[in-house]
Amino acid sequence: MRRYVAGRLAQAVGVLWAAYTVSFFVLYYLPGDPVAAMFGGGADAATINPAQLDELRHRYGFDKPVIVQYFDYLGKALRGDFGNSVSSGRSVSSTLGHALPQTFALAGAALLLSVVLGGALAISASYTRRRWLRQALLSLPSLGASLPGFWVGLMLIELFSFRVEWFPAFGHGGLRGLVLPAVTLAVPGTALLAQILAKGLVAALDEPYVQTAQSKGASRWRIHLRHTLRNASLPALTVLGLIGGQLLANAVVVETVFAREGLGRITASAVSTQDIPLVQGVVVFGALVFVVLNLIIDLAYPLLDPRIIASPRAGRAIVGAGA
């Protein structure tokens, strides 16, 4: 068990390093000249003359060979220093740290909603014997997965803020202000989770061990609770890791729609101003969230399915199957 954990930890660190490397080269070298992109591409390109650009290049270390720059930056990143935001001048880590609580509250609420709603939807679809009801319930997730997040947000505002004025449209007025953004953010996750879990539950009902349980005299409810749910929850758990990462990314859209302060809003404006250090910070942070979530989930697998402990890599093999 300890070997397994150590192995998975090493793997996680490797993925993080690779994510840093990929984002470094994509962001700093794909545009050609990062300094020109950061300072020249902005609104007042004319105000910066070549001499100033050279000065900036030197200050950011872009006059050194690529490989030296990379290790300079990596060394700093290992100490938690992702550089300073170009537009605000504040350090990337403190900017992110400042915005984090808002976004975590939002994402946490959305994740909880997804699990509760998605689980309820899937179980009722699998439990019912009425074909039409099952078909109706099973068509909801694919509808949910087809909705653009920004549009859902705007429609909710239109209905619940402008028409009936139940919830505030913008800003973050405590718990009430959290409701609409959280629901918006939860839609794709709920849909995905319900889809995967329902598919697993319905498929598990055809498994021979269910027939064994029936031949024991077990009721349908007992079969769901004791047999199919646990067997079907494994792929759903995998998908949960995926959803966690997506929540952070979708927060960019949702926070923009609802004009909430947070990580997503910062990301959106960083992309607009080509604030490369800040964007890289967000990307690496996104990878960190994903990796940590999946680490937790991988460690939870053996608790759910005793067969997994034998093959430490099995967990990875399932990840992405639902993507």
């Binding site: 549009w151 705007l154 239109e158 990878a287």
Partner: protein, 323 residues
């Protein structure tokens, strides 16, 4: 048991025994022993097939509707004048903010431009971006997967670790990073969206190649003396590409959503050009007084995504049955 319960096997098995017995008794009589036991041959076959197809579609009105809708979108993209005679760019200020009516199906915007005609003309940019995104993901992903699956050893490990890294960065964040590096515009947004879903294609392709590569019929071909490239071309690729094509159709809906999200955030085509995401973003400003400017372009996106998802589900089913 399972086999026996599927009524279809029941029938096949009966024919099995009969046909074999037949073949045995007629062994060398140069007659045509099977044709009279098997009515499915020659001319009647084609009629039966047409009949079968007709029944297939009549039973699935949703699918027919989806196909019609997607065809309409394609027509809108290549020949917008056929669906709307009005100019999407010229407005009549006197006509501003008219709700949906018989003369303006989707109402008019702040400048009095016909929203329906803007949506029709927007199809071109949206569809183009979606096609580019899917093509990039398909070509790059399938190539990575094919090479990884065939080459094995360290090449496979290296490529798949790279794919793991791509997967670990939430796709929207990855797209945003690429947009930061590449800059704005419809094509750049499309490429960014495409690259973000390369990983899924690579994984499916590799998994299929591995599955097919170890299939008995591939080994049978090898043991018949087939060269590796011959076997790859004749057996592995045709049998492995199916699920990847299906994934491409599934990815289509996701790409529409991702492209429209990015253009909603303002990274797509610059303002006067009508693009679906941009239309919703513009409509947001008039949410309180002109709901149709957000609701109807958004609904168009939803309907298109639903339709492509429905079609891809149908294709998926057929692929599965063919195997």
């Amino acid at each position: 048991m399972i086999n026996e319960l599927a009524g279809q096997t029941e029938v096949t098995v009966d024919r099995d025994a009969d046909a074999d017995a037949d073949a045995q008794t007629h062994a060398y009589s140069h007659a045509d022993p099977v044709s009279h036991t098997d009515p499915v041959s020659g001319q009647p076959r084609r009629a039966a097939r047409v009949n079968h197809a007709a029944r297939f579609f009549v039973r699935r009105p949703g699918l027919v509707l989806s196909i019609i809708l997607v065809l309409l979108v394609v027509v809108a993209a290549f020949w917008p004048g056929g669906l709307s005679a009005r100019d999407p760019l010229r407005g009549h200020p006197a006509n501003s903010f008219r709700g949906p009516s018989r003369s303006h199906w989707f109402g008019t915007d702040a400048l009095g431009r016909d929203e329906y005609s803007r949506v029709v003309h927007g199809a071109q940019l949206s569809l183009k971006a979606t096609l580019i995104a899917v093509a990039v993901a398909f070509v790059v992903g399938a190539l990575i997967g094919l090479v990884a699956g065939c080459a094995g050893r360290w090449i496979e490990s290296l490529l798949m670790r790279f794919v793991d890294v791509l997967l670990s960065i939430p796709s929207l964040l990855l797209s945003l990073a690429l947009v930061t590096a590449l800059g704005y515009g419809t094509v750049k947004v499309a490429v960014a969206v495409g690259i973000a879903s390369v990983a899924a294609f690579a994984r499916v392709m590799r998994a299929e190649v591995l599955r097919v590569r170890h299939a008995t019929y591939v080994e049978a071909s090898r043991s018949c003396g087939g060269r590796w490239l011959f076997v790859l071309w004749r057996h592995v690729l045709p049998n492995a590409i199916g699920p990847v094509l299906v994934l491409a159709t599934i990815d289509f809906g996701a790409a529409i959503l991702a492209v429209s999200s990015l253009s909603y955030l303002g990274y797509g085509a610059p303002p006067p050009a009508p693009e679906w995401g941009t239309l919703v973003a513009t409509g947001r400003n008039y949410l309180s007084n002109a709901w149709w400017l957000t609701a109807l372009p958004g609904l168009t996106i939803v309907a298109t995504v639903l339709a492509t998802n429905r079609i891809s589900r149908a294709l998926d089913g057929e692929w599965v049955r063919q195997r």
